[in-house]
Symmetry: C2
Subunit: 476 residues, 2 copies
């Protein structure tokens, strides 16, 4: 892991310097990381990137050349720069478990630490979690559209730089992809890698048939042939079937074919007939060409005979929504050993923050379906033995009462007093956790377009605190 | 620089293994990198990322743990894996100068090397150059909209991972931004960094006025105040002006204010009046909130009084077009010491590649305006002393004749026989080069929406070669 200590906005450092000068840098503060909208107008967001966040925090250290660089900017006091040499994160970070399904305005990560520390880490915390959550969410949408078919992540060449390819592949697998073409991601995260051959393989040989034969010769057990270099139905498929028959004669079972251009609906149906006619009922048809959840839904509904989906650019960049707008807002400041709630008012009601030191509780019915989330103050306890009535934070007459429920607190510690208590998870286990999480959602929240909005309410105590603070602010 | 040798698609390695088995891995081949469409439906693309491409090639090396990982996949022969240990790039790479303005279908990078080497580097070459070119191009569009106003890159928290933030900031400055908030990018590339304070600074103090005073106290020479934490016109601006007056009394000149929400047109006009009324005619108004070239154009045309633009998410992700679709296609194979042209045919005429070992020539008139580009075969020479007639590759009756022109060959060596001949450039010099490049374009090619299409023709020799090859292929 690289040292990313200077990967921050300059204003974090100018503020840290200012706080240091005002001698308030050590004041304990609480920041919440949350987002205001699900990506792609979807019904949920999968939180991802927690492991990399932990690594980033564990590696924080201002090296000599970092200090020299900051000094060269002529903006910082020498005493402040000397102070930075000793920088170490000493606070608490709580976060939801990696792979948790979350909803707008809920605290996803909560940082409680000396002010200067909380400020430094804001930008990279957001960078890491915004991106991986975006891609995990996109992948889960694509996989939902593909149903039980495997989805393969093919986007490295169009990813926004090396990290986007590497961590995007990680997030895509967590979100549900069966594997990635990215070898380095495979090595780093121990996730399945897949890949066969490109058009250039076919061009390199004197004929398509020779190219296919050479491929089958190298990988007799794993022969998947790209059939669209010249002409799918008149050249690619007849040649592929010839080679498949030879493989069969030798006792091998061909895997199938891939198409990367043309009319996928028509071609896949024709290819299926040709494969079936030749007796290759089990041979797969892999499609890859500018796919996303919308195109896959459409191809599926039109009866396209595709068994496996290679998804590139539109997944790795989340092209219809290339950023999750996660933010990091001050919600409390410690004074005389007590956390005083803070709020940010805005003309835009949706931008008013939830004040105080908070947690989130998810309410499940007896079938383990998630019914609603409740943002609470950390010191509140939900009594599962009693009825629980929650209400909409704006349309307060919209109420719902639960009996026979279980309540799960979602924020769990990553760091306590600077000590890392996070245990690294196996990625395939996180992937399974995501599947389980998604299974707790009613289908209307998973719908790809126009999903139903999941209930996220405030506890009565938090709602009252917030409204009192808004009213006081408006009076000023 | 990290070792990114395994940052490649698995199929590159399966093909390399196959070529090795067929004993054709050492055959010399030529690949072109080019793109088929300018980003954001624009009129041009700025090529960026050449320096990182060179670093990547220079650092290629399969380490022991890479080999062990590949072995664990059970797909590769041991002799092949041993062969990889000795991997070193030994070929030629030619590319346009970093910052060059390029157009669809022109070779941007040309790799001539043993087949297995050319194959390995495809994915990361594309990853690096696609992303940085995308962002440099987007930045140039945003800066064009902003006219002579400075544009600042603020996108790190929404960038697609750390590299996207770091190399995106580099590309944004090359494309025309005046600076970035990203401190690590500032350190790595020696580019200007900027930053003041966030809303949390204001929230941390007991009042906005105290927060502003504390900021001015720390940075009396660089006081730029964020005025929208509570209420821009009724609180932020009156408080800022109080602090500005105190600074003025002490002999300092305040820089100005920043707004990050609300109606930018209305607010900026009101803010300008308030600043002017108080005598702060030189104080700047910086705006930042979901800006891009389209919003800036609109604000400018409505007379908004904004002097400086902080652009975040929509620049660093190129949100309306989050990928440049650069591709890497085989165009020649050496046989008996002669390069034999190769072509990829497609039902879609736009996807048919240009065969052969090529270069690009740009034709300038005597005022140094670029008039057209001509893709030629490498052995062709354009005689500037004669008339030159070029023709459209499809509508061949569309012709244009040049006299009194200069012709510049665009592809220049980065590597010759594996030896790096690239000299690292100062980023601010590349930025200036981009400005000069854009100055060679007539304004109709720079228009943000519906630009005129720049002429890219094929030399008669290349056109004839291509058409003969297509006809031969169709006959088969």
């Amino acid at each position: 892991m690289r040292n990313l200590t200077l990967l921050t906005d300059l204003y974090q450092l100018t503020m840290m310097n200012g706080y240091f000068k005002e001698n308030v840098h050590d004041d304990i503060v609480v920041f919440d990381m949350f987002f205001r909208k699900n990506p792609s107008n979807g019904g949920y967001t999968i939180v991802c990137g927690i492991e990399q966040l932990v690594e980033y925090i564990n590696n924080l250290k201002f090296e000599d050349d970092d200090i020299s660089y900051l000094k060269s900017l002529n903006m910082f006091d020498d005493t402040f720069l000397e102070f930075l040499r000793e920088f170490k994160f000493t606070g608490d970070i709580y976060a939801v478990e990696e792979g948790t399904v979350m909803f707008p305005n809920e605290p996803v990560i909560r940082v409680k630490s000396p002010l200067y520390q909380a400020q430094l880490i804001e930008t990279t915390l957001l960078n890491i979690v915004n991106f991986q959550s975006l891609i995990a969410t996109k992948a889960s949408r694509v996989c939902f559209a593909a149903g039980s078919d495997p989805v393969l992540e093919f986007g490295l060449r169009r990813a926004q730089g090396p990290d986007a390819g590497i961590y995007g592949a990680r997030a895509a697998v967590i979100g549900g992809c069966s594997g990635t073409a990215n070898v380095l991601a495979g090595k780093m995260f121990n996730i399945p890698v897949i890949g066969t051959h490109a058009h250039s393989w076919v061009q390199k040989f004197d004929s398509e048939l020779e190219a296919f034969k050479a491929y089958a010769n190298t990988y007799p057990n794993k022969t998947l042939l790209l059939v669209d270099t010249y002409d799918v139905l008149n050249s690619g498929m007849p040649n592929a079937i010839k080679v498949f028959k030879q493989l069969k004669d030798k006792g091998f079972k061909p895997l199938g074919v891939r198409i990367d251009s043309g009319d996928m609906e028509y071609l896949s149906k024709e290819i299926r007939s040709m494969l079936d006619e030749a007796g290759f009922y089990d041979a797969s048809i892999v499609a890859s060409n500018d796919l996303d959840e919308y195109k896959i839904l459409e191809l599926k509904s039109s009866g396209a005979k595709i068994n496996s989906w290679g998804v590139g650019t539109k997944l790795i960049t989340s092209s219809d929504c290339p950023a999750l707008g996660g933010v990091y807002k001050l919600c409390a400041v410690e004074e005389n050993n007590k956390l005083i709630p803070k709020i940010k008012i805005s003309e835009d009601p949706e931008k008013i923050t939830n004040p105080g030191f908070k947690n989130v509780v998810r309410i499940y019915n007896k079938y383990n379906k998630a019914e609603a989330d409740l943002i609470i103050l950390e010191d509140e306890v939900i009594d599962e033995s009693k009825e629980l009535t929650i209400f909409h934070p704006i349309y307060t007459w919209k109420k719902k009462t639960f009996k026979n429920f279980t309540a799960k607190r979602l924020l769990k510690p990553l760091f306590i007093n600077g000590k890392c208590v996070y245990e690294k998870q196996d990625i395939m286990k996180i992937r399974q956790f995501v599947k389980d999480e998604l299974d707790t959602l009613w289908p209307q929240y998973r719908r790809i377009t126009s999903p139903e909005e999941y209930k996220v309410d405030l506890s009565e105590k938090l709602w009252t605190l917030k409204n009192n603070m808004i009213n006081e602010m408006r009076k000023k």
